[in-house]
Amino acid sequence: MAKPVEQLDSVVIRFAGDSGDGMQLTGGRFTSETALSGNDLATFPDFPAEIRAPAGSLPGVSGFQLHFADHDILTPGDRPDVLVAMNPAALKTNLRDLPKGGTLIVDTDAFTDRNLKKAGYESSPLDDGSLADYQLHAVPLTSLTVGALKDIDGVTAREAERAKNMFALGLMSWLYGRETESTTTFIERKFAARPEIAAANLKAFSTGYHFGETSEAFAVQYEVKPATLPPGRYRQVTGNTALSWGLVAASKLSGLGLFLGAYPITPASSILEELARQKAFGVRTFQAEDEIAAVGAALGASFGGSLGVTTSAGPGVVLKSETVGLAVTLELPLVIVDVQRAGPSTGMPTKPEQADLLMVLHGRNGESPVPVLAAATPGDCFYAAIEAARVALAYRTPVYLLSDAYLANGTEPWLIPRIDELDPIEVEFARAGDGEFLPYARDPETLARPWAIPGTRGLEHRIGGLEKANETGNVSYDPENHDLMTQLRAQKVAGISVPAQEVDHQEGADVLVLSWGGTYGPVQAGVRRVRAIGGKVAHAHLRWLNPFPANLGDVLRSYDRVLVPELNAGQLLQLVRARFLVDAEGYNRVTGKPFRAGEIADAVQRLL
């Protein structure tokens, strides 16, 4: 008999287990089912940098948080409503985030003396009453899975055990009435080469689903109705995938070949891998010997008339600054993507931070202006990549595009773009004219110099890192010329056409929240919370960090107080205070986690 169905408007689930337990896969599948069920959603995969930390240990815990709702949401959720803990270590590291009264599902089979000891438990929390404040569902997931698979030929005990994540997925799929066909198809495809493993995983999935239906441990089933999103066709996308496709789109829109120079680095590597698959688009990917060669090769490709791109994270980007400086003075197009992660040095490779802003703005020798923009959401990475390429090509300049570890791996429903509706990127190479060719003559509007690529007869010329005479580009040590060239390079970047800053204003608000980059979701969600309880607050989210929108100073000065929340020690804060002489205040955290909407709301409340 069907169980009663309770309506919910939003749910946050966190799957947590050992790195080898397949939590990312489980979370990813649940996300797909949820997307196909029509909910709005946001995800936050949170995993260690170690590929397989010792089994059962605290550092080896891998988590995947998913927030889904019947309305438009912006973040993966501050705290889970439901925690699925596959072992004691996962329980230990995640329980602090579960509010009292939250639902807790644990695999009792994993609560062995050995595992409890590894997680630092003196006694089993399942027995000592310490979980009394939660709705605990203690389920022997592993033994139920192994028992269900015992009749499938060719599956070892170990393989049967490993299917326990599919049991958990099946159970959760029942609990929230998820669409299951896509997972069935997924399992069949993924294990096509090993039919017995496919059968085992399908069986584990359906057994978990039926366990929910029949077990008395679960009295109700929940339903989250589809969300009302703008009409159109959707898919899920991660920031790194969207960014990769944005680069391919920029190549198509400009008619230039895409060349990516990259060196493997977390969390940027998946851009290299995605673009390496896109050879049908003429994409050339070059896995270089180091970060320096990666950007060097990209600049060489740009010199030859390609769209040269390099992708990395902070510890790699810092190595590229020498070549970016060369690109500044050569005035050639180049896109440098920094998928920011927690620093300094190696820092926390899989955790997000926004602390590279001042590095990309100022981290070069000499007066070396570079445009900088930042993506706001995973899906926005697509458009930000096109924008970065558009400016690099139009102004013949290196451009920094900032993403972060949260956007890189997080997903959201993405309204699939109509490629034929994207604006083309006009690129014109220099052609031989009548007079002498002047490699550093400038377009009066953009101040861009001509892009004369090798192979063009009559335009043979030399460029280099030494200071160049205005117009001729010949080596020059003339004092006034250096001053002039420095000003011209600065004016060119300062004059880049950037859209006016839009403000999500609220009538009567005298507090403005100014954010940038990957914190868009949590900050906007925090602002909505304040408004929901009657607070008046405005929100502006910056795409361009250099140059700033021309009206930004006016925007900032039109509010009594300005709050700048950042996942750093106050970098944009410093810039706007210095530039606009406004007494802006910071809200700064570097925990390796995205902001919670709740803490943003609290920070705003303190100013109201």
């Binding site: 898919r235 008339g305 060369l326």
Partner: protein
């Protein structure tokens, strides 16, 4: 379209050459400019890329496309250009500090990949532009500004290093030996893939006389010939045999009284750019971007 026959003067840029009077670089520049017409390639399809150092000023003096880049990085920059523009003839000009110290990593990887670039390594065994510090090819005991008691660094053997890196073409020439240098340039240009040419070059300011034993005495110059014994070394040269090339690269004037010039190794291997292009040509898929962004599980709202 009929190509106008080019001459040496057509490869001279309008820039004043600013090396020290008497520098070996002048002779190399003249030899390269003299050889270029023979290539039969229009000037606009030739690119010279350099790093930093005295040698790195070379592109400014060539009436071709050129880039004077940053210290040690020329092979990396040239790789991006060569891979995206297989129609160009790409040359790298570098020195012993540029190629073997700060840029050592880029050099060995360009060679192992067999990128279609020609690398001219001007080896004067000294840092000239920074006024005379020892370089990675300076001998032990070398007294310089930064080694007042003599260098304790053991030097690189550039040819052995290139061979070890898997180079498919390795040669050596002498700055003032125009026929010998031209012959090597001809072979390097004809080679498909990466070519490393070490050019002994005299720095008359900071390391004068380093190669006098063969610069001053033409009879002391010994040239490699494929299939022939080198001098009285007992080694019969085989350009396709690694061990032979490696053995010949070990010979030194001081220890063996003979220092081979010419082509040490020349073997065919698919170039990196050809292999990359072949993958693009054979790539599956339609190149339909709308299909790509619409792939996977999708759903419709509204």
């Amino acid at each position: 379209m009929t190509e106008q026959k080019l001459a040496l003067k057509d490869f001279k840029s309008d820039q004043e050459v600013r090396w020290c009077p008497g520098c070996g670089d002048y002779a190399i520049l003249a030899a390269v400019q003299g050889f270029m017409p023979e290539l039969g390639i229009p000037r606009e399809n030739i690119v010279f890329i350099s790093g930093i150092g005295c040698a790195a000023r070379f592109p400014y003096y060539m009436q071709t496309y050129g880039m004077h880049s940053i210290h040690g990085r020329a092979p990396a920059i040239a790789t991006g250009l060569a891979v995206t523009r297989p129609d160009l003839s790409v040359w790298v000009v570098t020195g012993d500090g540029d190629a073997l110290s700060i840029g050592g990593n880029h050099l060995i990887h360009a060679l192992r990949r067999n990128v279609n670039i020609k690398i001219l390594l001007f080896n004067n065994r000294i840092y000239g532009l920074t006024k005379g510090q020892y370089s990675p090819t300076s001998g032990q005991g070398k007294v310089t500004g930064s080694t007042p008691m003599g260098s304790v660094d053991y030097p690189f053997n550039p040819l052995a290093l290139a061979l070890g890196a898997g180079a498919t073409f390795v040669a050596r020439a002498l700055d003032i030996d125009k026929p010998g240098l031209t012959a090597v340039l001809r072979r390097a240009a004809a080679h498909e893939g990466a070519a490393l040419v070490e050019v002994f070059q005299n720095c008359n300011i900071y390391n004068d006389g380093e190669f006098d034993y063969i610069r001053e005495d033409k009879d002391a110059r010994t040239y490699l010939e494929h299939g022939r014994e080198l001098g009285s070394t007992g080694i019969t040269h085989d350009e396709t045999d690694f061990a032979t090339a490696f053995a010949l690269a070990q010979l030194s004037w001081e220890a063996d009284g003979v220092l081979p010039l010419g082509v040490f190794r020349d073997v065919p291997r698919d170039s990196y750019d050809e292999l990359v292009q072949a993958q693009l040509d054979n790539a599956a898929g339609t190149g339909d971007l709308q299909a790509l962004v619409s792939s996977g599980d999708t759903w419709t709202i509204g």
